[in-house]
């Protein structure tokens, strides 16, 4: 009996090691982040001023929430290009609802429902009509922006009297920390637990690793795919609410190019575009890296145009590393 337990632990022990190693990989990313922060401090001590840090944190939160949803989608080997347009649609609809006196909780529920509906359309296209996710969500990206523009007639919509009451969500503080950061922390933690410790999380990885094997293993592939697009849609809607709250205006152009930010964050965070590998920790660190990088470039006084060049190069480097790893394996 003792012998058996010994053998069991001997089998499990290298597992702990493997887990440590995968943690170390995220930690590798963490080192990049720490070095970046150190560099930022060296450049300008004002980096660690509370105001600046909170700004960076707020940006991490905003992009991070959408990126968590994107992580789910990319883990299934999909992509969701429509997130930015969902933000646009939800921004104008929620602004209009608030302005016309719909209560805040009801507005928020409706907003999340709109996000979910968009996600469901994306999911249905992929699942029932076999559309490639890239094309399906490219379609809803274009349509969504058109819908936002049509509803708002191309103009920003103010919130009217509700603006002050609604400001807490995006602009308020809790224990000295901006509310969006709390929201992001809760969502990231929840997503981490779901992906790592629930059967649904396992199924997400299974579908992304090998869709046909997942189907033959009795995994509800369609339900899983539907779910990840809906998750992505809902988190996009939440981001829109935060935008609207903080800016006290619903702009039809809100969230433009957000999909590019989110995809970059997820990829830099080490989640594989080939599906089935990666996770939320990487995405959180990826979001922080992008935000700190932008902050450094600002501190250096580099023009926004040049910043884009740098960011593009970083994305290519991250994906190159990923492709290289894949090739070495096979």
């Amino acid at each position: 009996m003792t012998e058996m337990t010994a053998r069991e632990t001997s089998l499990a022990a290298p597992g702990a090691f493997a887990r440590l190693r995968s943690l170390a990989q995220s930690l590798g990313l963490l080192w990049v982040l720490i070095l970046l922060c150190a560099f930022a401090v060296y450049l300008s001590p004002s980096f660690i001023q509370t105001g600046n840090l909170l700004n960076v944190g707020r940006q991490v939160a905003l992009f991070g929430i959408v990126s968590v949803g994107m992580t789910f989608v990319i883990l299934t080997r999909g992509i969701d290009l429509s997130v930015g347009s969902i933000v646009g649609v939800v921004a104008v609809t929620s602004a209009l609802m608030l302005a016309s006196g719909v209560p805040i909780p009801l507005t928020m529920l409706a907003a999340l429902a709109i996000g979910a509906a968009f996600g469901a359309v994306n999911g249905a296209g992929v699942v029932f009509f076999g559309m490639p996710p890239f094309i399906m969500t490219l379609g809803t990206l274009v349509m969504g922006r058109g819908i936002a523009m049509t509803i708002a007639n191309g103009e920003p919509k103010t919130l009217g009297e509700a603006a002050d009451a609604f400001y807490f969500l995006g602009g308020g503080f809790l224990l000295g920390i901006p509310v969006p950061i709390w929201i992001f922390a809760a969502i990231a933690a929840g997503a981490f637990v779901v992906l790592r410790y629930t059967p649904f999380g396992r199924q997400v990885y299974a579908v992304g690793s090998n869709t046909e094997a997942a189907r033959l293993a009795g995994i509800p592939v369609r339900r899983v795919l539907m779910s990840v697009y809906i998750i992505s849609g809902v988190l996009s809607a939440l981001t829109a609410l935060i935008f609207v709250s903080r800016l006290t205006v619903g702009e039809p152009t809100a969230g433009t190019n957000l999909e590019l930010e989110a995809i970059s964050i997820v990829v830099i965070g080490g989640t594989s575009l080939f599906g089935g590998e990666g996770g939320v920790i990487g995405t959180v660190i990826g979001a922080a890296i992008i935000a700190v990088m932008a902050n450094i470039l600002n501190l250096l006084g580099i023009s926004p145009f040049t910043q884009q060049i740098v960011k593009g190069a970083i994305i290519i480097a991250a994906v190159m590393f990923e492709v290289y790893r894949h090739r070495r394996r096979s």
Partner: protein
């Protein structure tokens, strides 16, 4: 005629957990046809990939026309006149026959543009010389598999190949087409001095076409000699290397109670009126040639493919199985034919692969308990002798046999008691094969499960199965008693009389 054109000496190739080629040496004479025979997994394909430069041998050397090839790469081997025609033909389906023949080296005009007229004319000349009636302007996807094989040979000849390797052409060719291929081989070898390496499963073909034969077993050459000096019995003995029955555990009596009853199962164009039953504790084999519908029967029962007609009963009750999920809920589990593309999640851990379809019992409050999972999986690893450094090791890094065991462990963990296994020992080394046989017997005799096994290895069907369903062109040709059947009786039912 006696000049040696190709020699491979002391070739070793190791994969994780498998010594795929162990000190393989042989020589091919100019203008001869050299046969290779051996069981699945004996190392034939690996050896040919080494010859083609696609795999690097760990040790050993390749000598062509007396000169050692220092660093074999695919390009180098092509230049030296080696052409390997794989079972799955590597062709560009949307291109024409002529383009395929001159793929990558189409003739050019003086302006550097492709000279289509010359390409077609030259392709037609090569095809004509070989006596192949194929239109050089036809697209590859519009011609038959046999014609594609011809195009591949034409491509090799057009490149002045000196050694052409044919990897089981008879698997895809009909009798008449095969006869034509043989005539071509004879003519090319005699008249043009081209040497052939002919890989096959079928003894009869060796005697028809080959001058010499080399028998591979478990990655080693066990015999290499002129075909005239051998007998069929010798070759079989060399291939198997043991009395066939020895490696199979003794067959236990099956129960009486019918667990799975398949009635008139049909799927348009694939399966027609398939009926058979499986009892508790019984292993039923399904045999038939490639394309006879063996795999399709299993997939239909498991719910992987839709069915158009017929009925499946479990314990006497008709059930409708809409998708693999339903199958699993009824205790039916499928171990698919291709474990890499349909079975496993290669980049996930052993534990992930084993538990993925039955996570329910490992969760408490909606969360998976890592400890409980590790314990459950460790138990399978131990019982099934899965050789892995840890339950968290990626399945990709395991050998074929251990990967297959992971697939079976998944079914056991999910509690399936009607197990449908498709080629369970393909690409699996001998020791792991024995483990898998023991396991299947343990499951049936020990635990009363029912197993349906599709296999193209007749010895294992004969050694394990209580009854054997022989299929032919999507129908059941015969149901034989396992203890009375022989390879000959099975084959007699499997082919058209």
């Amino acid at each position: 005629m006696n000049q040696t054109i190709l020699e491979m000496r002391g070739i070793h190739k190791r994969f994780p957990g498998v010594h795929a080629l162990n000190d393989v040496s042989f020589a091919v004479r100019k203008g001869s046809v050299h046969g290779f025979i051996g069981e699945n997994g004996a190392g034939k394909s690996t050896l040919m990939r080494v010859l083609a430069g696609a795999f690097h041998a760990d040790e050993g050397e390749v000598v062509i026309a007396g000169a050692r090839v220092p660093a074999p790469t695919p390009d180098r081997m092509l230049e030296l006149g080696i052409a390997v025609i794989y079972q799955e033909l590597a062709q560009a389906p949307h291109l024409t026959v002529a383009e395929n023949i001159f793929l990558g080296r189409l003739p050019r005009t003086r302006l550097g543009l492709i000279d289509w007229r010359r390409a077609r004319a030259e392709a037609a000349r090569v095809l004509d010389r070989l006596g192949f009636r194929v239109d050089p302007a036809a697209r590859i996807d519009s011609i038959s598999v046999a014609q594609r094989q011809m195009v591949e040979i034409a491509k090799a000849i057009a490149r002045d190949a000196r050694i052409v390797v044919l990897d089981e052409p008879s698997a895809v060719l009909g009798d008449a087409e095969l006869e034509h291929l043989f005539a071509t081989i004879r003519r090319l070898s005699r008249e043009s001095g081209v040497s052939f390496i002919y890989i096959t499963h079928r003894l009869k073909e060796l005697y028809e076409i080959c001058d010499e034969v080399t028998v591979l077993r478990d990655g080693q050459v066990v015999a290499s000699m002129p075909i005239a000096e051998t007998s069929t019995a010798d070759l079989v003995r060399h291939m198997v290397g043991r009395e066939i029955r020895d490696i199979f555990p003794p067959r236990a009596e099956a129960g009486q109670e019918i667990r799975l009853d398949v009635r008139n199962l049909s799927r348009r164009g694939v399966l027609k009126d398939i009926s058979f039953d499986v009892r508790r504790g019984e292993i039923v084999g399904i045999c038939g040639l490639a394309g006879s519908g063996r795999t399709e029967v299993l997939r239909a029962i498991a719910g992987a493919d839709r069915i158009d007609g017929g009925e499946i009963r479990i314990d006497g009750r008709p059930v409708s199985i809409d998708g693999p999920r339903h199958g699993l809920a009824h205790g039916i589990g499928l171990l698919p034919e291709d474990r890499k593309t349909e079975g496993l999640f290669l980049d996930q851990s052993v534990a992930f692969n084993v538990t993925v379809c039955a996570l329910g019992e490992l969760t408490g409050g909606g969360l998976i308990s890592g400890r409980r999972e590790d314990e459950a999986v460790s138990r399978f690893v131990r019982q099934m002798r899965i050789k892995t450094p840890s339950v968290h090791t990626k399945v990709r890094t395991l050998s074929g046999g251990n990967q297959q065991k992971c697939g079976i462990a998944r079914q056991l963990h999910a509690g399936t008691d009607i197990l449908l296994v498709d080629e369970p020992t393909r690409g699996v080394d001998v020791a792991a094969k024995r483990d898998i046989y023991d396991l299947l017997v343990e499951l049936t005799a020990g635990r009363g499960a029912s197993v349906v096994m599709v296999s193209s290895e007749l010895p294992e069907v004969l050694g394990l199965c209580h009854r054997i369903v022989v299929m032919r062109e999507g129908t059941v040709a015969a149901v034989l008693d396992g203890s009375g059947a022989t390879e000959e009786t099975i084959m007699a039912h499997a082919v058209w009389q």
